[in-house]
């Protein structure tokens, strides 16, 4: 019985890891990149999105339950999983083995990026307390700063790339481990679709970075004068 429990726990752990990668973490990634890409559409649309989100009721709980805990869980289990294997792409130089290797490496990159990203955005926001300021001007000023230096741009581009790759490739892995893809041809076709999907996400992310880098926004009150 003890053995069975351990096995059931293991199964639950891995399956949850797989699931959280898709929902909510992956879904949040898509939402986050999409929302931010409003920046390329226009400044006020972008600001509006920030304010809309930041004025959600129970935001902090939503963030903790649907974003922070799942990401932390996904990361920790991911680290545990990474240590189960031993990379060997130098010996067995195959495409999928590269993907396997990059999936693990990108996981590490994302984790480091998230520590940085949250350190510059979420943490000060929490420290400052919500009532003290409007979210949009604060976050926009942070972003302005981030994208002023080349280093900052590179950090964000690497972070975005790691995340989109990890998600797109993870989706493929999800389809494999849940048995959605079985045939070899189906596996190949799906990986093409997921590559395309990953590219689209990357482009969306990069577009935002480029927009920020080229046109820093003037920091001002969010609600337009005309309201």
């Amino acid at each position: 019985m003890g053995r069975l429990r351990k096995d059931q726990f293991h199964l639950l752990l891995i399956k949850t890891h797989s699931l959280t990668g898709l929902i909510p973490v992956g879904a949040f990634l898509v939402f986050h990149l999409a929302a931010n890409s409003l920046r390329t559409v226009g400044v006020w649309q972008y600001k509006l999105s920030i304010d809309l989100i930041n004025n959600l009721p129970f935001l902090i709980w939503i963030e903790i339950i649907f974003i922070y805990i799942p990401i932390l869980f996904h990361s920790l289990v991911g680290v545990y999983l990474s240590f189960q294997g031993k990379l060997n792409v130098h010996r067995y130089n195959y495409g999928r083995n590269w993907m396997y290797t990059l999936q693990r490496l990108s996981g590490g990159v994302i984790f480091a990026f998230l520590v940085y990203h949250m350190g510059t955005t979420v943490v000060p926001k929490l420290l400052a307390g919500k009532e003290q300021f409007e979210a949009a001007p604060f976050l926009i000023s942070v972003m302005n700063q981030e994208f002023q230096t080349l280093g900052g741009r590179v950090i964000y581009m690497v972070g975005i790339m790691a995340a989109t790759f990890h998600f797109a490739n993870g989706l493929w892995g999800f389809c494999m481990s849940w048995g959605i893809l079985v045939g070899a041809a189906a596996q190949r076709n799906a990986s093409l679709i997921f590559i395309l999907f990953g590219l689209v996400l990357t482009v969306i992310g990069f577009a935002t970075v480029v927009e920020f880098s080229m046109n820093p926004i003037e920091v001002q009150a969010t609600v337009p004068e005309s309201f």
Binding site: L81, R91, M176, V182, G183
Partner: protein, 249 residues
């Protein structure tokens, strides 16, 4: 074709607990000669490249035509059978090492008992009432037969495990060969009667969830077994079982 010679560099080890060391040999090499012939040549004339008489290298082999799975080793860093490794197609010098994911017995011999223990864990057989004459077997379409045949060619050589980044000496990962056998037996009408038991056996630690989808297994399988399809198929069967168990039990 002219007789040439070839240099063979071998990682040797006297017993499971001692350290490994390298020795090189120069052996004559004829047209279409394989690595086993070179090893046999060393047996007949165990003298190293620098002229020292030594104890011959030990290795495992049997059928010499890639159906028994014995002579699996690392040849120029890559896992494969020594019998089908034709020397004229290899980069020189030829470097031989024992498989790294299994305990070394001596020189190129390793202990692959783990593979066979895994077969026991996953109920890799069909339960029959007896061997007496109780008539024909189940009717089965030839396409199912063809699928089963492809899986049933697995000779437990261990290439897929050696090349798998998830399979290490310290973990309990079952590996592609084992998952493929689960699929093989679940495909048989009588074998399917023990399907649940087999699936349960691959749903724990070291089971199907631990596959990282690096898919090297299918690249190195000498029998071209569709291992990644088996993995995905077992992924499907276990996922469905999990959902069934969740909502039915």
């Amino acid at each position: 074709m002219e007789d040439k010679t070839v240099i063979i560099k071998i990682r040797q080890q006297d017993d499971p607990d001692s350290a490994s060391y390298w020795q090189s040999f120069q052996v004559p090499c004829r047209h279409h000669e394989n690595v086993i012939s070179c090893l046999q040549e060393i047996q007949r004339n165990p003298v190293t490249l620098d002229g020292q008489a030594v104890i011959p290298v030990t290795w495992d082999c049997n059928c010499l035509e890639e159906v028994c799975g014995s002579c699996t080793m690392l040849i120029n860093g890559r896992v494969r059978q020594a019998c089908t490794a034709l020397v004229e197609h290899l980069e020189h010098p030829v470097v031989l090492e024992p498989m790294s994911k299994f305990p070394v017995i001596r020189d190129l011999q390793v202990d692959r008992t783990r593979m066979f223990e895994n077969l026991k864990k996953v109920h890799a057989w069909i339960d029959i009432d007896g061997t007496h004459d109780i008539g024909e077997g189940p009717v089965m379409s030839d396409s199912i037969r063809a699928q089963r045949y492809a899986l049933s060619e697995c000779m437990s050589c261990g290439c897929c495990l050696e090349a798998c980044p998830q399979f290490t000496r310290d973990n309990t990962f079952l590996g592609a060969a084992t998952f493929s056998q689960v699929r093989l037996f679940n495909l048989h009408p009588t074998g399917a009667l023990a399907k649940e038991e087999r699936l349960e056996a691959v749903m724990g630690e070291g089971g199907i969830t631990d596959c990282g989808n690096a898919q090297v297994c299918v690249e190195v399988c000498p029998k071209n077994i569709p291992l990644t399809e088996s993995i995905a198929e077992i992924g499907r069967q276990t996922s469905l079982k999990m959902i069934r168990d969740l909502f039915q039990k």
